[in-house]
């Protein structure tokens, strides 16, 4: 493991992670919230309306970052799964357990925001469109991970099972996306794209990127905070946790 920088190596131990990561969380929250406010206000109030969809496209500034992140987190869970299976790192398991619920919520939010966008654009909240279906399946995959974690009482076994399911799921995610799109083109005319095929002006993009970055930062903060919580829960019997909680009570 000599290729790994020492700070990363240090974070692989629950104790160091718990202590070192604490100041970061607050900064991630602050940065993420400010960024989200700036990006959203910019996107909602200062960007001109889009040529075809008018104002309804503005939900894109919330929807697109969430939908992208939801997929990204699933892939990251699978990578953590590989790390867990190969190096038996405890923190990889903690990451999987913490990231799965966050990803699940993001997927749900992506679906809901997509429905809100669909109402004025398509005239209906739900269309069996390829992207919606593959997002829905992603939601089920996340749900499966969370449930699997809950039903296996033995933590070591749960972690291994979770890794395997996440890896199989992640291999499937692109195939699912692909197969759903393919299948849909057989039966339905192409649906309206969120941004049509018009070339996108930079005016629209800047707040979008700000929001993508902010939501990523905010989610990272939430995942890290949840990871700290899980570290406490799993190491409750360790002396360093007990010392820490004693220090806290004084």
């Amino acid at each position: 493991m000599k290729f790994v920088p020492s700070w990363l190596n240090r974070l692989a131990s629950p104790q160091h992670f718990f202590i070192d990561i604490k100041p970061w969380i607050m900064w991630l929250y602050v940065l993420g919230t400010i960024g989200l406010l700036v990006g959203s206000v910019w996107g909602l109030a200062f960007v001109p309306p889009e040529r075809y969809q008018g104002d309804s496209f503005r939900i894109l500034y919330v929807h697109a970052p969430i939908a992208h992140l939801a997929q990204l987190i699933y892939i990251s869970i699978a990578i953590a799964g590989v790390v867990h299976l190969v190096w038996k790192l405890k923190m990889a398991d903690v990451y999987m357990s913490a990231a799965a619920p966050v990803g699940c919520w993001l997927t749900a939010l992506a679906l809901v925001s997509g429905m809100i966008w669909g109402m004025p654009t398509w005239g209906t909240a739900w269309v069996w469109d390829a992207r919606i279906v593959s997002t829905l399946i992603l939601f089920f995959l996340y749900f499966g991970l969370i449930v699997l974690r809950r039903v296996i009482p033995n933590p070591a076994r749960a972690a291994t099972a979770l890794s395997i399911l996440a890896i199989v799921g992640a291999i499937n995610v692109p195939i699912i996306k692909f197969s759903v799109e393919w299948f849909n083109t057989l039966h339905q005319p192409a649906s309206i794209e969120l941004f049509g095929d018009v070339s996108i002006d930079r005016v629209f993009l800047v707040p979008l990127f700000i929001n993508i970055a902010s939501i990523s930062v905010l989610s990272a903060g939430i995942i890290l905070a949840y990871m700290r919580y899980l570290v406490v829960e799993r190491n409750a019997s360790m002396t360093w946790i007990q010392e820490w909680s004693r220090g806290k009570n004084q």
Partner: protein
């Protein structure tokens, strides 16, 4: 030699359990029958609906039958014994899956098109349905076995299995149905069929190797 000895054992167990081993097939007929009766003219009138219903029912039948795949062996302790023979475990599991496929996959591959024919599907469309089921059901068995192996010994029922497996079945289902639909519409289906084969090859080569370690891990309760 080892393969045939194991295969014989698995089939013996299937036959000894008697009428119980017909449950998946009866379930399949029951569900397809219910659809046919309630959808009525839609079912017999549109070949595409018919094909989709048969494919989806195949998935549900698979989940139902996989539920008990390792249950008996785990309960009587033979799974633990098998897991301890490291150089035999892959053969043991693969044989088990092939035996399982022989008693669920093959009957459905035959029954699906037969039901289709009886409901007015053209013979070449029925043959294509049978062919897609033939190359699709092994993929389904493999993927399902992996997830089932994760849950061995937890005493959890089929609904958990369903929630975990069905999303993973989506590509197999969609490509299988696509081939049939395109064939019915007289369009080209080569790339979809190649995808079916890709999924078949991928799952039948990778998953058997993973099953041994997964089953061993699942002994840890």
């Amino acid at each position: 030699m080892r393969f045939w000895a194991f295969y014989r054992r698995e089939l013996l167990i299937e036959f000894r359990s008697g009428v119980e081993s017909f449950i998946p097939v009866v379930f399949f007929l029951l569900v397809v029958g219910t659809f046919a009766f309630t959808l009525h003219s839609v079912f017999t009138g549109d070949s595409r609906v018919l094909v989709s219903v048969i494919w989806i029912t195949t998935l549900f039948t698979s989940v139902l039958s996989l539920d008990k795949l390792f249950k008996r062996d785990h309960a009587d302790g033979t799974l633990a014994v098998a897991v301890l023979h490291r150089d035999a475990i892959t053969t043991t599991v693969v044989t088990k899956l092939i035996a399982h496929w022989s008693v669920t996959g093959i009957p459905i591959t035959i029954l699906g098109p037969t039901v289709g024919l009886l409901s007015g599907l053209q013979i070449d469309h029925a043959l294509m349905l049978g062919f897609t089921l033939l190359i699709g059901t092994p993929t389904i068995t493999m993927l399902g076995a992996l997830v089932t192996a994760l849950l061995v010994g937890l005493g959890r029922g089929g609904e958990l299995l369903t929630v975990l497996i069905l999303p993973l079945y989506i590509p197999t289902l969609l490509f299988g149905i696509s081939v049939c639909h395109l064939h019915i519409e007289s369009a080209s289906y080569t790339s979809e069929l190649l995808w079916c084969f890709a999924l078949l090859t991928g799952s039948t080569t990778a998953i058997p190797l993973a099953l041994g370690p997964v089953l061993k891990m699942s002994q840890d309760s």
